[in-house]
Amino acid sequence: MPVEVHLFAAARAAVGESMVTAEAGTLESVLDTIAERYPDFAAVRPRCSFLLDEVACTDPSALVGDESRVDVLPPFAGG
């Protein structure tokens, strides 16, 4: 039951997938896993905000358990 990481806009473009899976851990470890697998993600990552199970999460040490969902949101550009 891995973590689902959903990628949007520039983050999806960098990874080339709209969803990838990672092992449970912390928000930081999940994102590190993606950055290792997809080097282009490293450039967009510092500008992104994150949702953990649909709630904004700014703590890199937040626990991301099995079956959790992480959303990776690049800077908004609406309007």
Partner: protein, 152 residues
């Protein structure tokens, strides 16, 4: 005319007549009709349109992508503006998907008793949508290059 106190649109009640994220064409006149009210002395509307240029480069196509939560966030933004200003009615819509040059990406209208409040509320609404709405803009330029706006 419908009683504005019981107007329902998109599941929202009362002063908020519409707060939607849609793939269809949106325009200011539609928003203005939605906020019409005999008590309203002033209606201010905003239309943010897709341009054919950005920072001097010619834009060929433009697409907005929205996060699944975008419509819920837009409803929260509308409620926050409703709480901050003395509104009679508010309507706001953000379009996603491909948008042809010249068409609107974001439209909003507010109705108030007096004009100063209408200008202030409409501007605050648009600013807050820009800040909070999880929506992204992808531009393809005439030279074939592309970019995600704010992420270059």
């Amino acid at each position: 005319m419908a009683d504005p106190g019981t107007a329902v649109n998109n599941g929202l009640m009362g002063e908020i007549r519409l707060a939607e994220v849609t793939e269809t064409v949106i325009d200011a006149p539609t928003m203005e009709r939605l906020v019409e009210d005999d008590r309203a002395g002033a209606i201010v509307s905003f239309s943010g349109n897709v341009r054919d240029h950005d920072h001097g480069r010619s834009v060929e196509t433009l697409t907005y992508e929205g996060h699944p939560s975008a419509e819920a966030v837009l409803a929260e933004v509308a409620k926050e503006i409703e709480g901050r200003f003395d509104l009679i009615a508010l309507a706001v819509s953000h379009r996603v998907g491909p948008i042809p040059i010249g068409e609107a990406a974001l439209v909003a209208a507010v109705a108030t008793a007096h004009r100063g409040e209408a200008f202030a509320a409409c501007q605050a609404l648009v600013d807050l949508v820009k800040e909070r709405l999880p929506v992204w803009k992808h531009q393809v330029f005439s030279d074939g290059t592309d970019e995600w706006v704010n992420c270059a």
